[in-house]
């Protein structure tokens, strides 16, 4: 296989194992590129990409922009913290306006699950999902899996636990789909109020005790806990969350094996993860950020290959 089957990257759900492996192989090459003195290739020289972000994002947007620039694409950015509807313009109108300026690809982040799928149905462009509400965040899952593969050699047969707010997490869902396709066993762990009731239907194990979860796994992906969640009684207080679900050094030291730690960022130090864990050698957090650029270059490069 040397190209993707679909014309868009909407979610991991739509990707085959072969496509994921193709993205990884392509990312291997780009990782070499970005570690060279001249970090740039001309592959996307005549391609224009619009990053359309309807939700605040720092690292994902930066990472995409950097990936685009390292591929020599022309880049425009559109950010709006509120959904476009509130401004009186529909998403379709916004995107069609941008596409009229001869843009070839759209990278979109939106608070509505399925927004990129909706665009893919109604506009004529290549769409990359950079996070759609509580649905998917495919490039994050790809870079997480890529980072695990890089550190542990392979993913098949490995045990990965995702810890925290699974209910509101697009990272969790995409990670579950990606890791399962790559042959890993997946567990989710968090307070039951933050786990979707039917999550086990996706074939994942469910654990409410963080110590048991850490003991089981080879890799733990610790999700950011969103501070506003305590308002709707998902948990009583941040203090209690960090006492009972926060990952600290003492927990890691008590394990009889070494596990690796991932976090999609941004970190709430001292809440879901302590500094001593986040900054340790077995934490891949900064590797994830670096790999993020390579993965996004790979995705954009492969999709651009399908431009007419």
């Amino acid at each position: 296989m040397n190209q993707l089957i679909k014309n868009n990257l909407l979610g991991i759900k739509e990707l085959s194992l072969e496509e994921i492996e193709l993205i990884f192989e392509t990312a291997d090459n780009f990782k070499d590129v970005i570690n060279r003195p001249i970090k740039k290739v001309p592959s996307l020289r005549d391609v224009t990409i619009a990053n359309i972000f309807f939700e605040n994002s720092t690292r994902t947007q930066l990472s995409f922009e950097l990936a685009e620039k390292r591929l020599s694409a022309d880049v425009i950015n559109f950010s709006s913290s509120s959904s476009s509807v509130k401004k009186g313009e529909t998403l379709l109108d916004t995107v069609n306006n941008i596409l009229s300026m001869k843009v070839d690809m759209i990278v979109i982040r939106h608070s509505s699950p399925g927004a990129p799928h909706f665009l893919a149905k109604h506009v004529n462009s290549k769409i990359v999902n950079a996070g759609d509400g509580t649905h998917e965040h495919p490039t994050q899952a790809l870079l997480d899996a890529y980072s695990i593969r890089e550190r542990l050699g392979s993913i098949a047969g490995k045990k990965v636990v995702i810890v925290g707010d699974i209910l509101h997490s697009r990272v969790a869902l995409s990670n579950i789909f990606a890791l399962q396709k790559l042959g890993a066993e997946v567990m989710v762990c968090g307070p039951a109020t933050l786990l979707p009731k039917y999550i086990s239907a996706l074939g994942v194990k469910v654990e409410l005790d963080i110590r048991k979860a850490l003991n089981w796994c080879d890799a733990a992906n610790i999700l950011r806990i969103q501070l506003e969640r305590q308002k709707r009684s998902y948990f009583p207080s941040l203090r209690e969350y960090s006492l009972y679900y926060g990952v600290n050094k003492e927990m890691i030291n008590a394990l009889d094996k070494e596990i690796i730690i991932l976090h999609p960022g941004p970190i709430n130090r001292g809440v879901e993860i302590t500094s001593s864990v986040a900054d340790a050698d077995n934490a891949l957090i900064l590797d994830q950020v670096e790999n993020g650029v390579a993965i996004r270059m790979a995705v954009l490069y492969l999709l651009a290959g399908k431009l007419e």
Partner: protein, 414 residues
């Protein structure tokens, strides 16, 4: 007027199953005689179809549908009678809105039966002027698509309508347990990252409604049950002698939550499409009589409300014009067409305590003629509604109404 070569589909008629010629004079069935010359492909004749809950957006949002287009759509679909929801702007919580509806609809072949608001402005706080609404023509009382969250209001309403043996209609969904819900809560919603509307939110509400009904007495109709738990609850309540009836929305039996896996907003409805297990229980409930009626829940939405990101898209589906075609696609050994037709004709009339329509000599002629083999394209050209939010839009369908006789008013599509 003569209607020749029609097969009677009315299990309560002595002519059921016979191919007959019917003579109708001044809105009354004068004679029914067996056809001497049989037709190759006889049409069916059935007691006039009736819907318990449609939405014609008039007054208020007439750009999606109005009383005239709504009733014409119903007529094209074979309906002699349609109940319409009070969720208009202004709401049907006052005499003048009811009178407006009845006056505007009076020349149409299909009869309209407005449902009156249960609470003022459908706010769920205090009772609307139910006696006055009834006197002006409201047939039953409900807050329509808005669930009655206030338990006190429901109990007062059930007591208040007892003066005239009135009917209260409840849409069972506990809003506090389904906040922000977009579709059925289950494995599909989980994998789509969409907020679910749990079966629990329906169950809790029905349990509450039934407990209140047991306390107050009166008559309660639960509209649009959608889960297997609801079927079981109502079966038990009926066994215990409670005066409760219920219906299931036709599209609820045709599609499951799997249809949402590509975020198609045309399948976004409230109550949400549930699972195959629920569908099976609903079918069993229809067959064994737990469920009294089918309803259509015709809810028109324009493109601006539907062609949007999934969580911004409006709920609702239209279905009056395509109802018979959907019935045919459902008909099977366990769900005979005769029974399905009954649930969409005399079923709703029994819920509302209206006289039963019988295909017998001397009876009032409220009849629907159906062609079970006619193939037709459901598209821009054939669609009568102002909206097209149906998953069937654009498809070649089998089965169509070919005539409506509503007393002296008749309609035969060209």
């Amino acid at each position: 007027m003569n209607v020749r070569n029609v097969v009677v589909k009315d299990t309560h008629s002595s002519h059921h199953g016979q191919e007959v010629d019917i003579r109708i004079e001044k809105g009354i069935i004068e004679s029914i005689v067996e056809s001497k010359i049989k037709a190759d492909d006889p049409k069916l004749i059935t007691p006039g179809l009736m819907d318990l809950s449609s939405h014609f957006n008039d007054p208020g949002t007439e750009y999606k549908e109005d009383l005239i287009t709504g009733l014409k759509t119903a007529c094209e679909g074979g309906f002699t009678d349609v109940c319409i929801l009070p969720n208009t702007l202004p709401t049907a919580d006052n005499r003048s809105t009811i009178e407006y509806i009845l006056t505007k609809a009076s020349r149409q072949v299909t009869s309209v039966h407005p449902l009156g608001a249960l609470s003022k402005e459908l706010k769920g706080d205090s009772l609307a002027e139910i006696l006055d609404l009834r006197a002006s023509g409201a047939i039953a009382f409900t807050d329509g698509v808005v669930p009655i969250m206030n338990a006190e209001l429901l109990s007062k309403a059930l007591q208040y309508v007892q003066k005239f043996k009135g009917l209260v209609i409840s849409r069972p969904r506990d809003l506090s347990l389904s906040r922000g819900g977009q579709m059925h809560e289950g494995s599909v919603s989980t994998s789509l990252g969409l907020v679910g509307i749990s079966s629990l939110s329906e169950k809790v509400m029905i349990e509450r409604d039934l407990s209140i009904l047991a306390y107050t007495g009166g008559r309660l109709h639960i509209h649009g049950i959608s889960t297997f738990e609801s079927v079981a609850l109502i079966a038990e309540a009926k066994k215990s002698g409670l005066a409760v009836t219920c219906d299931v929305i036709l599209h609820q039996l045709c599609y499951s939550d799997d249809h949402l896996s590509s975020f198609d907003p045309f399948y976004k409805v409230d109550p949400p499409l549930r699972t195959d297990k629920d569908i099976q229980a609903l079918k069993n409930g229809l067959a064994n009589g737990t469920i009294d009626a089918l309803s259509i829940d015709h809810l028109p939405q324009d493109e601006e409300s539907k062609i949007l990101e999934f969580d911004l898209a409006a709920f609702g589906m239209i279905g009056l014009q395509t109802a018979f075609s959907s019935l045919l696609s459902l008909a099977s050994k366990e769900l005979p067409l005769d029974m399905l037709l009954e649930k969409l004709s005399n079923g709703p009339r029994q819920v509302l305590k209206l006289p039963k329509i019988k295909i017998e000599e001397g009876e009032f002629a409220k009849l629907t003629l159906l062609d079970a083999h006619l193939k037709w394209q459901y598209n821009e050209e054939s669609n009568i509604s102002k909206s097209n939010n149906s998953p069937l839009f654009g498809q070649l369908l089998t089965g169509k109404s070919v005539g409506v006789i509503n007393g002296e008013k008749v309609y035969f599509p060209s």
